[in-house]
Assembly symmetry: C2
Homo-oligomer: 421 residues x 2
């Protein structure tokens, strides 16, 4: 069976590894980047705590010596289901089974002004852009004398109180506390405001009440201005307009308030459901097709336990990849017994800052906060990072940052002030 997997995120990569060197399988893994991105740590790249390379793993290295996995650095432009072929910007590739594992991208909900002026953070490159822009902004503050303009420059607004927003807000607050005043002794960082805006009633809405309350307390202790039940209407590059008519002047807005599935161009719209996700059955098969599958953030699957679909998190993608690998192997050996997907939620966590994190585990029902949660968070993330060297470098960077209170990758490798779209 020739399996073409499009997307090398948590789902696509896991599936390719599961089929690696399996007799009877030929695999083509297509991605627009030549590396796997470890999304949970984007926020540390953005805040200069980790190097982009620390959380990026070259795909070709994963499949060194593989007999059956081929990698293509390409962007898919079309699918021809009738002749079982995908077209990329470089070539056409035929398949027996096609797996769409393209993940999700930032959702600005159609607001183009918002999209143009605020920063998304759904790729390593976007995380680097945030880092460069934050630093460039402070460099420019040094030459600004107008009080209002300086205040606008010193305000940072993060939209979205989920894990990404919370973790980013916490990391920025620590930069403000420990690093920035030393870097820019000429600037008054009492003026720097970090706003975290959340549309719902609490931070970390998908976690337990305990985690929500604790994360809010941690953030407020770090000086983050958390505004819940606050909806953003617009941002023109200067001013954030809220639904209640209030405004916040800010030069930097980071948008972490929603995602939408990366449906490939030209894909049958009738299969696309809410959140721009592709409806699949419990074997990850796209409804109406015999050999097109979708997994991970892009896939929308209803089960009795999750009647409104699964959360768009790494562990769902990984478990779906494992189910699908098993499914393909059963097809190959002409088995007729197939398992249906059942998500096992192992828990969720978020870190706010030094010694501060929250961890929820559903079975047994456990909650951790503070230092212990922070240790669990670190240990787990280290385990999940691909490659011994990356793991070591991340660990050493963390140790260094912890001991010195200094995220020292404050390097502007790219010269621009505005997001590159």
């Amino acid at each position: 069976m020739k399996v073409v997997i499009v997307g090398a995120g948590f789902g696509g990569l896991r599936l390719a590894r599961k089929l690696n060197n399996r007799p009877g399988f030929e695999v083509v893994l297509v991605d627009r980047f030549n590396y796997h991105q470890f999304q949970p740590l984007f926020y540390q790249v953005a805040t200069a705590g980790l190097d982009a390379s620390n959380i990026s793993f070259p795909l070709r290295k994963v499949f060194h010596g593989s007999e059956n996995v081929r990698i293509r650095l390409a962007e898919m432009t079309q699918i021809h289901p009738e002749r079982k072929e995908v077209v990329t910007d470089k070539e056409s590739i035929s398949y027996d089974s096609l797996v769409l594992a393209l993940g999700a991208d930032t959702n600005f909900f159609g607001n183009e002004q918002m999209a143009r002026h605020s920063f998304p953070m759904k790729s390593t490159a976007e995380a680097l852009q945030i880092r460069h822009s934050l630093l460039q902004n402070f460099e420019e503050c040094l030459a600004i004398t107008d009080h209002d303009e300086l205040q606008r420059r010193m305000n940072i607004v993060i939209v979205g109180g989920g894990p990404t927003g919370v973790e980013l807000a916490g990391a920025l607050a620590e930069m403000k506390k420990y690093v920035l005043p030393k870097d820019y002794p000429e600037l008054d960082f009492k003026k720097m405001n970090i706003y975290l805006l959340e549309g719902g009633g609490k931070t970390l809405p998908t976690m337990t009440e305990k985690s929500s309350v604790q994360s809010l307390r941690y953030l407020e202790n770090l000086g983050v201005i958390v505004m819940t039940s606050t909806l953003v209407k617009n941002y023109d590059g200067n001013k954030v307009e809220l639904a209640d008519g209030k405004t916040i002047d800010a030069a930097t807005v980071i948008w972490a308030a929603g995602v939408k599935g990366n449906v490939p161009p030209g894909f049958d719209k009738s299969k696309v459901v809410k959140g721009n996700r592709i409806k699949v059955d419990r074997h990850c098969l796209v409804e109406g097709y015999k050999n097109i599958y979708a997994i991970g953030d892009l896939a929308y699957m209803e089960t009795p336990k999750y009647p409104n679909g699964h959360p768009q998190v790494a562990s769902v993608a990984i478990q779906q990849a494992e189910l699908l690998a098993d499914y393909f192997r059963r097809i190959e050996r002409k088995s007729t017994r197939f398992y249906e997907f059942e998500y096992i939620d192992k828990g969720s966590m978020a870190t706010v800052g030094r010694n501060l994190a929250v961890v929820d585990i559903p079975k047994p029902r456990l909650h951790f906060g503070g230092f212990l949660a922070w240790l669990i968070w670190m240990g787990l993330h280290l385990m999940l990072i691909l490659g011994v060297k990356n793991r070591f470098f991340v660990f050493f960077n963390w140790l260094y940052n912890y001991v010195t209170y200094d995220q020292n990758l404050r390097l502007i490798f790219r010269e621009f002030n505005k997001p590159v779209k």
Copy 2:
């Protein structure tokens, strides 16, 4: 005394550090990057052995807690000697003494086609561009079926047989030998040719005869096609034209065949001499000015020992910075005794590959080759890199590469195929 230093390379940074927290001095250090670049290892960034951040050190971190050094991320656009002021793209800065430490940039000797199509390697960003382009090129080779076009894509031409050219050729040859065939099992790397073209009669022309001979042997053993007494006439993006009428088809040409001083815009042309360098006296004072100095690659100084000027290397810049710091301190304490600059050549070295390097030391007259020279080269470069953390990361990267035969930073963080000018 208010000293404005433009350029934070080896010379400018050393001078700023020497004046750091010295009573009586106010220092402004201006650079267009927010980090110091460790130029000697650019070639390892280009060949995916080191991370850009490993050899880049945030300037603001160097001067944490400094009472008198201020940093400005800016580009100098003009000098007004009459009112003792420099203008940058952000603001005007007055000075008592101005030190030009802008270094040197790639010299394409007026050949615009050459400049447009070949890669320079005089900044971290340019080194990263080479890395990205090399990798992107192999990715694209996978979809190429035409034999001639594939051969053109597999040819890499390096122009210039000095240390940069030699080190880069050696590192590429090792990638070809150890890494690329594993990354791209579908490509035939017997077809990959690495050409090193040198206009003069030997590689490493500024070193001893022994070093030249050894480096040539090392390179040829690694499979590099070394062509000495070979002048390049042109490169149109497809074909390298040599002076003798021969041509080499190549998609990638790296230009390491000459530098020119970065004379600031609008600077008095009458002070600019050969190599686009600024003529200075033995106190680094620009002739005809009372308070404008130049040091390092940009400065041209004649001494009895160096009647044709000094080599454009880091140690000249560092020694000139130290002389100038002493000079300024003497001025401040109204001393009238000043030392004249005398360059102390501590030796030179170049590395070709694993266990292969050459080292020349003039006093006592010593030469090392092979493994011992390689150890000396590594030890010295580790010592010279700024910052404990960078030193550790470089060391660990080297150790990793040495043990695994794998430069594993093969990451394309930027999406482009052509050099960005």
